[in-house]
């Protein structure tokens, strides 16, 4: 999706990153094989999941003010469904003002 957004809307600056759950470092190597997107590892100090009140497979879409534009959960709206895929892409574009 990152590549698609970049190719289809090069006028918009959209970046997607991953935040791995605390204590799940052992799975990072396999994750690296699947993505070239940045991956950060949450820990007891950062507490990103807690502070953002995130749940597993949430995608937080932030606008240019670092404000939450939308939260899209991939368990509820799996990207296997093309409608969900397009909906998430559209959220990114809308958040970017496109």
């Amino acid at each position: 999706m990152q590549a698609e957004l970049h190719n289809e809307r090069p006028d918009l600056d959209i970046s997607i990153l991953n935040v791995n759950g605390e204590g799940l470092e052992s799975g990072l190597e396999s994750l690296f094989e699947d993505t070239t997107l940045p991956v950060v590892q949450d820990d007891a100090t950062a507490q990103v999941w807690v502070n953002w009140e995130a749940t597993w497979r949430d995608v937080y879409v932030l606008d240019g003010d670092n404000e939450v534009y939308a939260v899209f959960n991939l368990t509820s709206y799996g990207l296997d469904d093309s409608a969900n895929y397009e909906a998430l892409k559209a959220l990114f574009v809308e958040a970017a003002g496109g």
Partner: protein
């Protein structure tokens, strides 16, 4: 003598009329002030902030605690307008600045590998943050 009697009767009627006018207001006021206002104010404020569930719960608790002094008058001020406006569509996170953090990008295949990543790096941009369980 007759005039004096009429005058006295009229006087009494006027006095009685004057005394009965304020009575309904004084009865109503305790019913409103004790029952509705504090709870509604708190609920409205909380709901504006996006805490729908919390606001509704607080309202229920507040009303129960105060209604024991209810005079039995119709509680018309408590219309339920606040509750019915709660459609469930308020996500509570809309347009909220996310807390900052600073964590290193660990992915060797990423263009930001080894750099410290913060959401604030993406101000003036749009960013997506996928909360994943790497397995």
């Amino acid at each position: 003598m007759l005039d004096t009697g009429r005058s006295a009767v009229l006087h009494a009627l006027v006095l009685a009329a004057c005394m009965t006018v304020p009575a309904p207001a004084s009865v109503d006021e305790p019913a409103w002030s004790g029952d509705v206002r504090p709870g509604d104010t708190a609920t409205d404020t909380a709901e504006t902030g996006g805490g729908d569930t919390g606001a509704d719960t607080a309202e229920t608790g507040g009303d129960t605690g105060v209604d024991s002094s209810d005079s039995g008058l119709p509680d018309t001020a408590d219309t339920g307008a606040v509750d019915t406006a709660d459609t469930g569509g308020d996500t509570g996170f809309a347009f909220t600045i996310v807390p900052d953090f600073a964590l290193e990008d660990l992915n060797p295949g990423s263009v930001r590998y080894g750099q410290v990543v913060s959401p604030r790096d993406y101000l003036e941009q749009t960013s997506g943050w996928y909360f994943i369980h790497a397995t």
